[in-house]
């Protein structure tokens, strides 16, 4: 069994972080340059961490598979970033953001981490404004806010519908500045394929240069993974095509526990699937629900009618009806399930019947088309490009899609995994969102981890662990390099009859149908039979084009998919073991009479941290109990 110590500092929740910052050991400024830090991933968490550590004086090597760090998938976040600034004087506070996040996460997140997240949220906005992030402003020159799901205050900062882009560009610019100063060495188009441990500590990685195909080793005093989420295990998701689980999965196979993989977020407002060719799904920001009203026809017979021919009394505003106090801003998991139920009843709209309306007619009547255009023009444009429909005239059609993954590498309060020296940040870790993430909280967490948490805690590791410098000729590096080469050769040698993409699509279908928005013991057991069978076929019948010593996107995809196969099984395994419904994990056996998620705090108020037990052996379950000292665990109600 792994030893999981959350290392939560003692004392009242509001003082834990202050106290911890004082208690942690420091590395003196002149000594920082003696430490080499490897950062994998250059999204909000990775770029902010790499830049900040370089500013402090550490030597940083940063890796990304994209052609530039500016393209990491954080860039696609649309709506905004939460911060407890209370600029609107509407009753917000650090405590309220903390409370909303814990409740939104359906009481499956760690209190101490979430409190710290709410605390540093205010610094993030200051930092980003100082970098020149062009946040939306009021005429008086002060920052503007909007509301997001799961909150009754206006605390979301935004830059049109491109908040993720602007925050990432801010972090990217800070990173490029350090690259220019020689404190960060950047490796773009370079993918991490293995983690290297020496004497139990993370000391390096094996990477493949995606242009030349060369495989090489990199040694460091610590390894930081900021490699994002695993939504693409479902094939269709709002993630970028390149998003993958490989880094955290490789870490898992080297002993780093993987926590709560079954907590996957299905976002309610995505553009519906249009056909078999679909390669990815596109999100329509949650911010649209500030002004859009979700409805479907009351009667099945009306579903094929033109929407404005359906009179008001024949419409069912599902969220407003079911959740009057939060209405269209009910949290994501709840809104998604409402849409799914409606479509399951046969009341879905659009050609596939898998869609609900998101209607702006009332808002346009109330505020004028110009105001709506000002707020959401880029989203309306994107919608028109994809569907060919004008949402100023016709309601949008939306349907839930996989969007974010709350699970990830298990980390302690210091964001260090159970492998010493291996830190995991942002979406790649499991820490702050429990079983469901609230809108505008992912950007907050990524930047909190990278700007304000890791730079402190990594110093504490260096100062207390006092590990020898790794040598690049250590046999562990050679061994890991050989493993990577063997895996690559194996994939290329099969030369079967099916394409990599066809396998990925099939895996995605299994995951979505058996382990998507609604899961049951039966469906999960089926998935656990289907996935290994498909994986076996993959290793017999896949056809990976080209060779290893060249730019080869098909080989990249095959390697990522190979890890998704193994990981998908763990996800289903976790979903099967968790005999309750909570947040994004909905087990049909566990629901209230009116169809809401039914938690089981008695038996499942813990973090499920899965440990690799070796090839062909079932994973070992480690439990980190969740203790709520501040907030009373209650049934989530948004009614």
């Amino acid at each position: 069994m792994a030893i999981l110590n959350s290392n939560i500092p003692s004392g009242p929740v509001a003082q834990k972080w202050e106290k911890h910052k004082f208690d942690m050991k420091l590395v003196n400024p002149a000594n920082k340059r003696k430490f080499d830090v490897i950062v994998v991933g250059s999204g909000l968490a990775g770029a902010s961490a790499a830049a900040t550590m370089a500013e402090l004086g550490y030597n940083v090597k940063c890796f990304c598979f994209q052609d530039s760090p500016r393209r990491a998938h954080s860039i696609a976040a649309q709506g905004g970033i939460n911060a407890a600034k209370n600029y609107q004087n509407d009753g917000d506070s650090i405590y309220r953001l903390f409370y909303d996040t814990i409740k939104g996460g359906d009481f499956r997140a760690r209190e101490a981490n979430v409190y710290r997240l709410a605390q540093v949220s205010v610094n993030i906005i200051d930092q980003c404004a100082a970098q020149g992030v062009p946040f939306a402003r009021e005429y008086g020159g002060l920052l503007s806010n909007r509301s997001f799901g799961g909150a009754q205050v206006s605390r979301t900062f935004y830059a049109r519908g491109q908040t993720g882009q602007q925050l990432l560009i801010g972090a990217y610019q800070a990173l490029e500045r350090q690259i220019g100063l020689g404190k960060v060495k950047m490796y773009s188009r370079t993918e991490m394929l293995e983690l290297v441990l020496i004497d139990g500590h993370a000391k390096g990685i094996i990477v493949r240069d995606l242009v030349t195909g060369a495989i090489s080793t990199h040694a460091g005093d610590a390894v930081v993974l900021a490699t994002g989420g695993y939504g693409n295990v479902f094939y269709l998701s709002t993630n970028a095509k390149g998003c993958n689980v490989t880094a955290t999965w490789r870490a898992y196979k080297k002993g780093a526990c993987f926590a709560n993989p079954c907590y996957t977020q299905i976002h309610p407002t995505c553009i519906p699937v249009s056909g078999e060719h679909q390669s990815k799904l596109t999100l329509m920001s949650e911010s649209l629900r500030n002004d859009g009203r979700v409805w479907i026809p009351k009667r099945k017979e009306d579903c094929r009618k033109v929407p404005h021919e359906i009179p008001e009394e024949a419409r069912d505003y599902i969220l407003e009806r079911k959740y009057p106090s939060y209405g269209n801003l009910a949290p994501r998991d709840i809104s998604s399930r409402a849409a799914k139920e409606a479509c399951d009843e046969g009341r879905g709209v659009g050609p596939s019947g898998l869609g609900v309306y998101l209607d702006f007619a009332d808002a346009i009547k109330r505020l004028g088309e110009n105001v709506i255009r000002e707020r959401y023009a880029n989203l309306f444009d994107m919608y028109e490009k994809i569907t060919g429909e004008n949402a100023y005239k016709l309601p949008m059609r939306i349907y839930p899609a996989v969007h974010y993954t709350m699970g990830g590498s298990w980390v302690d309060y210091n964001l260090m995994s159970n492998v010493p020296g291996l830190f995991v940040l942002g979406e790649a870790n499991f820490s702050d969102h429990g079983a469901n993430r609230l809108g505008a909280s992912a950007l907050m967490q990524g930047l909190a981890d990278g700007y304000f948490v890791l730079p402190y805690t990594i110093g504490n590791y260096f100062a207390s662990a006092k590990q020898p410098k790794p040598k690049a000729d250590h046999p562990e590096f050679k061994k890991a390099l050989d493993d990577v080469q063997a895996r690559t050769k194996r994939l290329l040698s099969i030369k079967g009859k099916r394409t990599v993409n066809s396998f990925h699509k099939e895996l995605g279908k299994i995951m979505w149908e058996k382990c998507g928005m609604a899961r049951s013991e039966q469906s999960l057991k089926e998935a656990l039979k289907l996935i290994p069978a498909l994986r076996e076929e993959f290793y017999k019948n896949v056809n990976v084009a080209g060779s290893e010593g060249e730019f080869n996107q098909n080989l990249e995809h095959a390697g990522r998919l190979a890890d998704f196969f193994e990981f998908g099984e763990l996800l289903c395994h976790d979903a099967l073991h968790r005999n309750e419904s909570c947040g994004g994990h909905f087990r049909v056996e566990y629901q209230t009479e009116d169809g809401e998620a039914k938690r089981n705090d008695e038996d499942y108020a813990y973090v499920a941290a899965w440990e690799y037990a070796g090839e062909g052996k079932p994973p070992i379950l480690n439990k980190e109990p969740l203790v709520y000292e501040e907030i009373h665990m209650s049934t989530r109600s948004y009614k």
Partner: protein, 255 residues
């Protein structure tokens, strides 16, 4: 619908490359251009051939990864649209479509339609930032910024760094890209202290990278998927002029 594709195939940077003809069959209007290429690639792999290499990631028009010249126009000619957001409903059955990489000596071809755009990152390294370290920054509302300035800065900051402006320019100039960053930061009070150094250093780096000169034909603006205005080029020229006059010594070494 069925289409004929003339696709640029080039094994690596040293290969000369050439157009190769492919058929794209049973393409439906709801597919994006890249999904159409996915279909062609699946077919090529099944036939034991090498798929067409092309860059893409978010496929929702924001990451700036996708980059291809379609029928002679960067990103395909639909206003304000990246290749990934160009849908096949804009094409007709029987069309012949040519597909090429960005062509600029500062963006060498890696393979087929994939180019190396690291030059853009190096231009940002030269000055496309505000020199603030993490921490110790004032309250975000301590410095009010007129809404019009913030909005205009956002117009410039919307650049996705895809490089279409360079691909469209007969001189392969990077002026639209550089001016967007210079303007974004020059419009905001946070960017003011370094405004002169920034513009001098970024322009200098742009020349070092081998991008050509700007003759204000506006072809960059016409293809920009984020519709960045060439007014920003005028703004950058003004910033540059001011900086040159105030920093005569710098300018001798610099631009």
């Amino acid at each position: 619908m069925n289409l004929i594709l003339e696709v640029w195939r080039q094994k690596n940077a040293n290969d000369t490359g050439s157009f190769v003809t492919y058929e794209a069959k049973d393409i439906i209007p709801d597919m994006s251009f890249l999904e159409m290429l996915d279909v062609v690639n699946e077919d090529l792999i099944a036939r034991g051939e090498q798929p067409i290499a092309f860059d893409s990631d978010c496929r929702e028009g924001i990451c700036g990864t996708c980059s291809m010249v379609i029928n002679g126009i960067a990103h395909g000619g639909l206003r304000g649209t990246t290749a990934c957001q160009l849908h096949m409903r804009h094409f007709s059955d029987g069309d012949t479509i040519t597909v090429e990489p960005w062509r600029a000596s500062a963006f060498p071809v890696i393979r087929d339609l994939v180019t190396d755009r690291d030059a853009f990152d190096r231009i940002i390294q030269a000055g496309g930032f505000v020199s603030v370290n993490t921490g110790g920054t004032p309250d975000a509302n301590a410095l009010p910024i007129p809404k019009t300035d913030a909005d205009e800065a956002m117009d410039a900051a919307a650049c996705i760094g895809c490089g279409a402006c360079v691909a469209a320019c007969k001189n392969a100039s990077a002026m639209l890209f550089v001016s967007a960053k210079v303007s974004h930061l020059a419009l905001l009070p946070q960017g003011k202290p370094e405004a002169e150094r920034r513009v001098l250093n970024m322009v200098k780096q742009m020349s070092i990278e081998g991008f050509g000169s700007c003759t204000v034909t506006g072809s960059c603006e016409a293809v920009c998927p984020k519709e960045i205005s060439i007014d920003f080029i005028a703004r950058m020229n003004r910033e540059y002029g001011k900086a040159i006059l105030k920093n005569r010594t710098d300018s001798k070494e610099g631009a």
